[in-house]
Every structure is written in C-alpha cells, then in structure tokens.
C-alpha cells in the first residue's frame, strides 16, 4: 500500500501551550482517514500542518514523499477550512472561478470543473447568488466544492458536514466514497462520533495526543465496545488512568 501522508513524531506549541504532542500517523492511498476528537483536541492544528499552512514545532510531515510545507505539493491538496473562507460580495460562481484560476484552470476545463463540483454539492441553481445570501449549510457546500475544483490527489476536510442536513450529508459521504475509489486520498476531521464510523481508518485525538488509531471495526473490537463513542471513552479513560 502506498503511503500518502506520513506524520512523524510531530509536536506543536504556541508559546508554552502544547497543542499537539508526539503525533505519529500514516494515511495510505485511497483511504478515508478520520480524525476524531472533541473541540480543542488539536484537529485543526494538525490538518493545517499537513496542508502546509502551519509548521510543526518538532517532528516532520511528508506528503506524497516530499517534506511539508512545499508549494508544489500543495497543488495536489484540496483544503476545506473549518470556517467558510469565502468572499461574501461575490456570487458562488465567482468564488469558484477565483479558486479554480489560482490552480491554473481556465476556459472550458474550468467551466466543466465548476459545473461538476457545484453539481456534487447541489448548488447548481444557486451559483448566481451572492454568497452573503447563502445559508450556513450552503456556504459549507460551496467551500467543499472549492476544495474539489482542481481534482486534487489529497482532500483535507476540516469538519465538512457541520450544519448540513442528514440527507445531503449522506450524499456527500457517497461522493467521498466515489472519490476515494477513483484514487483520491481523504483526510477528514469530525467531532461527531457516528460520522467516524464512515471512515476506513480512524485516529482518536484528545488533548493533543493521539490516543488510538485503527479501523472503526478494530477500535470497537479491541475495546469490546458497541459504538465508537464507547471506544473513545475507553481509550480516553485508559489514558487518564496513566
């Protein structure tokens, strides 16, 4: 199996505040890797370092066999931030045009990609509307579309389904499966336990430490739990006992 993301012994401090400690994780090609953890666990910090925006205090991160941060590798990554980073004055289409041209898409190809991406997130009929008239869920979907535009090899999604209704959430997950089958590697963060079940591989993050990792099945079996939530509590509890 081909390793796409390799995080080695990474720690991150903001001044004296230890946000992440000695994180090791590996994401393989075609995998949907879920980072599960409560708010403040350090999920966003970790994915930002993988995306090349932040740099680790110690340790190293390599993506597609090159050390991050590297601008060339960043062209292969689609990033969806936790907060919707969109231009409110512009229409949905204009936002997508902007982000796609940053990746060098133009003309017919650009149009096709925008159509595909907006279709995927069910926004085709709202593309002409200014984004500041979008609902929270629509903005989330537009952010997702913006991350998909340049057909990246790696998708990093920070809490992508917050504020999206269950039906659409399911259809987005269906799309993520399709993307993963067609060769995209996906790293997704979530604080919703039941959503974690949908991932192939899971990393459980708590207080800046990776307390467990493996497939949802393994994590449940190893702890004789019936749900991911139980497993998380188990690992968290073990951690506390130490």
């Amino acid at each position: 199996m081909q390793t796409v993301i390799q995080v080695k012994n990474v720690s991150k401090n903001y001044r004296s505040h230890h946000v992440l400690q000695n994180i090791d994780l590996t994401v393989n090609k075609n995998e949907i890797y879920g980072l599960l953890g409560p708010s403040g666990a350090g999920k966003t910090t970790l994915v930002k370092m993988i995306a090349g925006i932040e740099t680790p205090t110690t340790g190293s991160i390599s993506v597609l066999d090159s050390d991050m941060p590297k601008l060339n590798t960043m062209t292969q990554i689609g990033f969806m931030a936790q907060s919707d980073a969109l231009y409110g004055e512009l229409s949905g289409k204009e936002n997508l045009e902007f982000f796609s041209s940053i990746y060098g898409l133009k003309g017919q190809k650009q149009k096709e990609r925008i159509d595909q991406a907006s279709d995927l997130v069910n926004l085709t009929n709202f593309l002409q509307k200014p984004v500041n008239q979008y609902s929270g869920g629509m903005k989330r979907r537009l952010s997702l579309a913006a991350a998909l535009l340049h057909d990246p090899k790696i998708l990093i999604l920070d809490e992508p389904t917050v504020g999206i209704d269950p039906v659409l959430r399911q259809s987005i997950w269906d799309e993520l499966y399709k993307l993963s089958k067609s060769g995209t590697t996906i790293l997704v963060t979530t604080h919703v336990m039941d959503e974690a079940e949908k991932c192939n591989q899971l990393g459980m993050l708590r207080d800046g430490k990776l307390i467990a990792s493996g497939s949802p099945r393994e994590l449940k079996d190893n702890t004789s739990s019936t749900s991911i939530e139980e497993a998380f509590l188990y690992y968290g509890g073990v951690h506390h006992a130490n």
Partner: protein, 345 residues
C-alpha cells in the same frame, strides 16, 4: 495567472461594494468642493496701494491694472490699509521691496500677491530685476498661514488620496485575514509575493481612476490654479496612492479588527498632514524636522504643490517620484515578510 485571478476578484468585490466605491471616488470630491467654497477666491479684485521713489515703476503699475492706486506718502497708504480701504501696500524703495498685506482675508492676501507677481512678471527685466529680488511680505493682521484654496488645494488632493486609499486597502486586506480567506489562500500554492502584487495591481486600477477623477475635478470644476502638467499631477497622486496602498496593507497585519485599523489614522496618517507642505517645515522645531524625511506625504505634497503652483516639470519632481516608488517597494517587501507569520513559505 494567480495574480490575474486575484486582480479580477478584487475588481469584482470592489464593484459590488458601492459604499466603498463612493468613499473612494466621491467623498474626496465633496470635501474638496467644500473646502473650495469655504476658501473661495473667485474674481476677487484687490486694491493695492503703491508707494515708490521709482517713477518708472509707478507709471508702469498704474497703466497695467486698475488695482494699483498710487500714494505719495507712505503714511497715507498705511492709514488706508488699516481702515481696510486697501488690501495691500507695495513699497518699492530700492534696494528694498516690501509688500504689506491687510491680512485678515486670506482670499484678498492671495489675490493681492498674485496680482503683484503677475504684474511684475510682465514688466521688462531691467525695471524689475531689483524688485523681484526678495520682496518682503508683511502682514498687518493674520499671518502667512492664511492662504486660499489655490495654495492648500494641492496638499488636500494628496492628503485625501492618501487617507482614503490607506483606509480602504488596509481594511480589505485585514478582512481577508479575519474572514479566514487569507488562510484559505495560503493553503493554495499562491506565493506570498503574488498575493501582495495582486493586491497592489487590483487596487492600483481603482487608484488610477481615483487620481484622474480627483485631479481633473479640482482643475476643471473647482478651477484650482494649475501651472504645470495635468499628467504629472496624476502621476504623483498615483504614486502617493500606491504608497498609501502598500502601507495600508502592511499595517493591517498589525491590526486585529477594523477599529484597530482606524486607530492607525491618528498615528500614521494625521502626522503626515503636518509634513505635507500645508505647514512650513522650516519653521518647525529642529528635532521635528528630520521626521519629514520619512513621511511619504512630504514628497507627494511637495511635488504636487510645485507642479500646480510653480509649474515644475519632470526634471524637478522625478526625485520625489523615485522616493515614493522606493517607499512602495519597501512596504511591499515588508508585507511579504509580514505574511511569513501566517505561512513560512
């Protein structure tokens, strides 16, 4: 390509934001018009008393304009001046030439001085050589601070452009950070310098328009004195705008919200007013004077004034253009470095 994408985006955003557009294009025009009305000097006909022992000069002055009234006695002229029957007294008693202004009405002061200068200029040189040397100007009331729109207009043009461009560009760059779009951009392969250049070009297009509109308005509508080239004035205001633009985007890195950006105005923009040329730098406290060298508005204001009032050409002002260009480049480089705080690459 990435820069082009950024430029197109900025233009689109800007066009949507009607209020900011108005602030950039219309607000300076309104204020200039207001100042012009306040200091209106339209068609003021000055009365100037002439006292001289040079009969030649007296005759010429009397012939050239009915503004000049010849007095035999110095005391009589000054009596009329203090009773406001005259706006100025011109005394030519070689080797000294003195102009005494009534002084309380800036419009009359300016009109009198312009009239005297204009008339002396039209005289053959041998007559006026000695007069042109150093005419001393005295004020019966008031002081040289009181001037007309012709005099303050050039600085105001420079200042307003600086002020509005600084504020608007600073706030938009700040907003890029507070809305998270900066971070989103930093997740793309866009380079830091490409962002800075993109911003300068995107806003630059609007500042070209702004400079052209404000300068043309001042000249053709407000009828401000314009001795030099319109294009040079536009060039200087544009350079000043680019300096304000790069400074605004740079300083926005040190603000966390719009209010903090506005707090930079008394700190960064207002002090520049004192060095723009509106007030004489030479009369300031010694320790204060060197400050003028680090203020962009010193170079912009001076150049605009010299072009508009003295008719300076490219040869006289290219130094100022280079300095402003240097400021802009410096601010851009610092901005590229400041962005390092957000992404190392």
């Amino acid at each position: 390509m990435r820069i082009k994408a950024l430029v197109i985006r900025i233009i689109r955003q800007f066009v949507r934001d009607k209020r900011t557009l108005a602030m950039m294009f219309i607000a300076p025009l309104l204020i200039l018009t207001l100042v012009n009305l306040v200091f209106s000097s339209n068609d003021y006909e000055p009365k100037i008393g002439v006292v001289s022992d040079q009969q030649m000069v007296v005759d010429k002055l009397k012939l050239s304009d009915k503004a000049f009234i010849v007095y035999q006695k110095r005391s009589e002229a000054h009596q009329d001046l203090s009773e406001e029957k005259l706006d100025a007294v011109l005394e030519v008693e070689l080797p000294s030439t003195t102009i005494t202004l009534e002084g309380s009405n800036p419009t009359a002061n300016k009109a009198s001085i312009m009239m005297i200068e204009k008339t002396l200029k039209t005289m053959p040189d041998q007559d006026t050589e000695k007069i042109k040397l150093n005419p001393e100007i005295h004020y019966l009331h008031g002081s040289a601070d009181m001037e007309t729109f012709d005099y303050i207009g050039p600085f105001l043009i420079g200042f307003f452009i600086f002020f509005f461009v600084f504020l608007i560009s600073g706030v938009s760059f700040l907003r890029e950070r507070t809305t998270g779009t900066l971070e989103r951009l930093l997740a793309t392969p866009m380079r830091r310098w490409e962002m800075v250049v993109g911003y300068v070009l995107g806003f630059g297009i609007f500042t070209i328009l702004q400079s052209a509109i404000i300068v043309s308005f001042a000249i053709y509508v407000l009828d401000i004195m314009m001795a030099g080239s319109l294009w040079l004035v536009i060039l200087i205001t544009l350079m000043l705008a680019i300096t304000a633009l790069t400074l605004g985007t740079l300083l926005s890195a040190f603000a966390t919200n719009e209010l903090q950006m506005i707090q930079f105005i008394p700190l960064v923009v207002v002090p520049q007013v004192f060095f723009s040329g509106l007030f004489t730098i030479e009369t300031m406290a010694d320790w204060l004077q060197p400050l003028s060298y680090i203020m962009p508005l010193t170079y912009g204001g001076e150049a605009i004034r010299d072009i508009m009032i003295q008719g300076d050409g490219w040869g006289d002002i290219y130094g100022n253009v280079l300095v402003l260009l240097g400021f802009s480049l410096l601010f851009m480089i610092l901005n590229v470095l400041a962005l390092k705080k957000h992404r190392r690459l």
